[in-house]
Symmetry: C2
DNA sequence: GCTTTTTGTTGACTCGAGTAGATCCCGGTG
DNA sequence: CACCGGGATCTACTCGAGTCAACAAAAAGC
């Protein structure tokens, strides 16, 4: 044991070490670190700041979280973070959260309900301040899962669930935009490559496709279902091409699907848009760089992420659940037949 | 006030509530929840389990983290989680972490050094048990940033940094595989679309391209630098096409770059692989679905993520820093000229 | 010069869970 | 019958930070 007054502590530096070094109480250190709730004399503050600097003190987030009941963290549950659309959404949510000082716990449900439930439980245990849930499915027992303690937002969800905040786009209107555009190119036999939604309830995109055709007095074209991903679109495409009344245009319910679809069309020796025109939904970056570039219905992903995060942590977080529906925009490229 | 003995507590349920309900001490509740370190009589255990079930008790992770000094969380810092390659890596890391009971805090550095530093600091403050850092750049002051308290792994990093765990692939060998394959198709003028690395030190991929050409006695073809992303590849492609000695084959340092490159080539009215053959690096899913499908050097992303996570939380986590280099594999598709 | 008020600082309690050490109770032994 | 072993349980302290009531010291008021 030396007799020196102060020596660098070995383990992580705590508030106590700083207090000792600066010759003040631990309370003052807190006041300095948080800028309140009590005032500190300028001279004392300087001493404390110096001590913090010298010792390299960083407050322990776990302790703070315990005391405050919040660890400034949000949870995000998405089906597959390597799918470009979800990846983009994840990125946007991360940025929106970071802007507000929140970190993001990312989890993949792999389109698996059990896995999704486990993740939600886990997030709840970790005392996240809110959960952004992007699920292709919807289960009524979600309400119990979340209990009433934990805030949540359903993102990109088709149906409006009572008791939940939700943020989505007008799927039907978006689909109509695309299909109407294809009709404008003179197509009369327009197929649909539709993703699979667990509840098997007609998705707004399917509805929009039907309505647009009806409104134009056209017959309903062939429909094929498959996953929302590339392989799903590829498989759906093969079936559409094999149909008796092969469509001359196809609307795909996601960009990824459209990319799989393009592949199926190429493999059949046909060309896009000359033999078959294509339009899709989402507006991801892949659509811009595919060949031909995809005409797609763009979702305002960044705004949606903003809205989702602000519903969780904004000052209006104690109001009754909100349902925000964003408009979509048709981004015209070449796959539809436009030059 | 009713006179009933027990009523559901309003706020979150704590260990104390469970103890009261089950008529035991709080210690016993802990023993039951954690299965130790002391034994509990079967009858008592049943009572406690029942109480937990009825009250819906979930232990507070923040409190546990405070006491245990770990919150079973890892941090991941990547340049851009909406870039498919990083997204895939992120997904793989998330899965590897989840398998071990760890959650993943995702952050985007946006290729920005300051932002990267901020995120690392932030993760450290949050007492993550380790950080997976995927950075295109490398800065020597990283060591200080991490201090000695926090474990870290450099993922997908070119240079081997002393004092750090790292996991990567043999970039040079991979690049040679691809370039040698292009040479095998008879090309004698092979260009390079190279990504930009901050330290401006020759990346292994550039080196591999040079070496393969030298070994075959061929002249070094034109080189263009641009971002590793699609726009970067597009820009690099335009420059390569405008070069005096326009190459008949191009090796791109990432799949995303190659996709931008394909676009530039198409816009110039040329075709792949007839006019210009292309091969790239990464092995992401986009490569499989692009047109034409990209011949690419595949990185074993899942194994790499496994290795990275296990270096952080495995039982060998206290050994000296390891540097693991994985082999790559050439995935042959059509963009190189193969049928 | 002696109250008031203001300003600055501190000790002590709190959050919820982990766990060592003390205590209690029971059957078995000398 | 006093004693001991040992299993089951409880008490009490700990982790690190936020914050309030209490207090000391300095400033202002009369």
């Amino acid at each position: 044991m030396t007799t020196s007054a102060v020596h660098t502590p070995r383990g992580p530096v705590t508030r106590k070490d700083v207090a000792r070094y600066a010759g003040v109480s631990t309370a003052v250190v807190s006041y300095v670190v948080n800028g309140g709730p009590k005032k500190v004399a300028p001279a004392t503050e300087a001493k404390v700041q110096e001590a913090i600097r010298i010792l390299g003190y960083r407050p322990n987030a776990a302790a703070r979280a315990l005391k405050m009941g919040s660890n400034q963290t949000l949870g995000l549950v998405i089906p597959d973070s390597s799918n470009p659309f979800w990846a983009l959404l994840g990125h946007a949510v991360e940025v929106a959260a970071a802007e507000r000082g929140y970190a993001l716990l990312l989890t993949n449900s792999d389109n698996n309900l059990d896995s999704e439930r486990r993740h939600i439980r886990n997030l709840a245990d970790r005392q996240v301040d809110g959960v952004v849930l992007a699920s292709v499915m919807f289960e009524p027992d979600l309400l119990e899962l979340f209990g009433t303690e934990i805030r949540s937002v359903l993102l990109n969800h088709a149906s409006v669930a009572p008791g939940f905040n939700s943020v989505g786009v007008d799927l039907e209107a978006g689909a109509r935009l695309a299909v109407e555009h294809l009709i404008g190119h003179g197509h009369t036999n327009i197929g649909l490559a539709m993703g699979i939604t667990a509840d098997n309830e007609a998705d707004g995109r399917e509805e929009g496709w039907r309505r647009a055709l009806e409104a134009a007095g056209l017959p309903v074209g062939p429909l094929a279902r498959g996953g929302f991903d590339r392989p799903g679109g590829y498989a759906a495409g093969q079936r559409l091409l094999a149909a008796d009344n092969r469509p001359t245009a196809i609307f795909a319910s996601s960009d990824m699907q459209a990319i799989g679809l393009l592949r199926a069309i190429r493999e059949a020796g046909l060309s896009v848009p000359d033999d078959i025109a294509v339009a899709s939904f989402d507006g991801s970056i892949e659509a811009e760089y595919s060949w031909p570039a995809l005409t797609t219905v763009e979702q305002p992903v960044w705004e949606m992420a903003e809205a989702a995060v602000s519903a969780l942590v904004g000052e209006n977080r104690n109001e009754p659940p909100q349902h925000r529906v964003f408009p979509t925009q048709l981004r015209i490229r070449q796959s539809c037949g436009c030059p």
